[in-house]
Symmetry: C2
Subunit: 347 residues, 2 copies
């Protein structure tokens, strides 16, 4: 336990160092923001060890992405670095930590978008892919398509030597227990069954970044909903809903109750408001997440960065796992709504 | 041959009658527009019999939808009536006339959206469903989800008594020959293979409508691309790309090279420009289809209607199968770019 807290402190110290050197750089401004799910999080529900571990992984992920940007790398590589790190963690519902669907399988979705040319790649309903975000990127770069689903996406993955992992890689006791609990709470094998347990879909990971070339990118990856019906597609692989990036406005990655995010085309709507109304990123994100979504009853949040490097992290839930490094190099890692005050390692 | 031309003339006469009685109605204004694909159509490529038959089916479809509206029915029922009629025709790449994918199967997508509450339903990669648009609507009304794909969508279809059809229902000699030709032109079993034959994806059917209650709806259905890779998802089932409806702005259904339509979130973008820029439907549709899409290299078109009943039919290809009935009851059935002059049955 104390080792984990020490580790988190060490990460914080590292972050402070990195932050200092970042501001000393002569590169044009870069910025990055990540999330790892939004939901009913409060301080009383989580033990301190788990919280410290989660903050540690969030910090590592945002640092990995930021390192790419600081070295003059692309926003695409930065969001990919951050998201693969989150996918590799068992804490979050993506990649290794993906939840089990109603058939006891891990069924994952991911998407990525390049704001410079509006290139995009997405996969839906894939299994045994170690890092779905790498497959989404391969679809973007090496196929004539934007979106591949199910077995067809897996055939493409094999042809392009994407890494697969065995079932036990994705097995975490916590996720299996979640499935058993969800099954006890309600029989939901049918896609048409009741849908009463919102905490089941509150997780997804994602990242947005602005690189020193002035290019934006966004990436999102998810394991879907615990006990979800086979074949359900949420917002994460939908370009315009869970992911969007356009150099003319902003890059957005979303997490929340996907059905609402699809119907409101959340990611695209935030960019569209910036582009067509001339409002700020924060105003656009607030209007969609705290306005449109709340009116519809859709819960969740987004991380976003605009073409100037402004960052907006907006959620209408109790908490959202999030981290960011702004253009000044300030690092923030936060979970709860009133967490902004405890930003870490501000120089 | 002459029977078909006679039939088309009879339809035209019926349309004139309907048009006359529609204008005499006391209902608030209603309007509908449909499409059945866009592409490299020119008068020299098509024999007159086929052309007359196609115009006949377009007229029937738009009339079916318009009848629903004239009787005070909903825009959802109107677009469904029009799209099921187009799906039932062997001429268009949707439902019965769906093309064959690289595995010699019919793999279909569809989506529907209700502009009054932003409700939506979509299915991707389904086979042996007689009318995929009915399944999309069932997903909207009877499941907690917006989008279901593949086998999961078929399980849902069986549970909800959606009509299935045998393989031979979907077999049309023309589509089979197209597949053989496409296979000869290029081996494309891989999702990553070359993609050189744009005429393969130029077809999809769709409808948009405004009802007398002031509600908008949009629906789109497709059989995808001839010889397409198994698992490819185009824009038709993507809410925001191929289909969008919002009472605050407009309803849009698209047809064309789906990858570009996804990346540009075409349907949502047209609605967003109306909503946020305050431009007319025609201006918004022109900006997206003749501006954004052309810049990207994306070919295709859209049909759209706004909350006042204005209609915009815009395409950047040589032709688009289309038909509409405006608020004055004027009926138009057209194929080519210079076809507007030969609108049928204008009272």
């Amino acid at each position: 336990m104390s080792r984990n807290i020490l580790f988190a402190l060490w990460c914080t110290a590292q972050a402070a160092l990195m932050s200092f050197s970042a501001t000393a750089d002569t590169l044009p401004p870069v910025a990055i923001a990540i999330h790892a799910g939004a939901g009913t999080m409060n301080r009383h529900d989580m033990d301190r060890q788990t919280e410290a571990q989660i903050r540690g992984v969030l910090l590592e992920a945002v640092q990995k992405g930021h390192s790419v940007l600081r070295l003059g790398g692309t926003s695409l590589d930065a969001v990919q670095a951050a998201v693969t790190h989150l996918e590799d963690s068992p804490f979050f519902n993506a990649g290794r930590g993906a939840v089990f669907n109603a058939d006891g399988k891990n069924e994952m979705d991911a998407s990525i978008m390049d704001g410079s040319g509006l290139q995009a790649g997405a996969v839906a309903g894939v299994h045994n892919i170690r890092n779905p975000i790498l497959l989404a990127r391969k679809v973007m770069t090496d196929s004539p398509h934007v979106m591949l689903m199910g077995e067809g996406a897996l055939v493409f993955a094999r042809e392009h030597e994407i890494e697969f992992a065995e079932d036990d890689y994705f097995y975490t006791e916590q996720r299996w227990e979640q499935l058993q609990k969800a099954k006890l709470q309600g029989s939901d094998k049918s896609a048409g069954a009741n849908w009463q347990y919102p905490d089941r879909w509150m997780s997804t990971v994602g990242a947005v970044a602005l690189d020193s070339h002035g290019n934006l990118a966004a990436a999102t990856s998810t394991g879907g909903m615990t006990n979800k019906s086979y074949g359900r597609v949420g917002d994460s692989p939908i370009i315009g809903a869970g992911t969007y990036a356009d150099n003319r406005s902003c890059a957005v990655s979303a997490t929340g109750h996907g059905e609402y995010f699809i119907r409101a085309t959340v990611a695209r709507d935030i960019c569209a408001r910036m582009q067509f109304q001339g409002v700020s990123l924060q105003q656009a994100a607030d209007a969609v997440v705290m306005g449109e979504l709340v009116k519809m009853g859709g819960t969740g949040g987004i991380v976003s960065v605009d073409h100037k490097g402004n960052i907006a992290l907006v959620f209408n839930t109790e908490g959202m796992y999030r981290a960011s490094v702004n253009t000044a190099g300030d690092i923030q890692v936060a979970i709860y709504q009133d967490d902004d005050a405890v930003a870490e390692a501000t120089p």
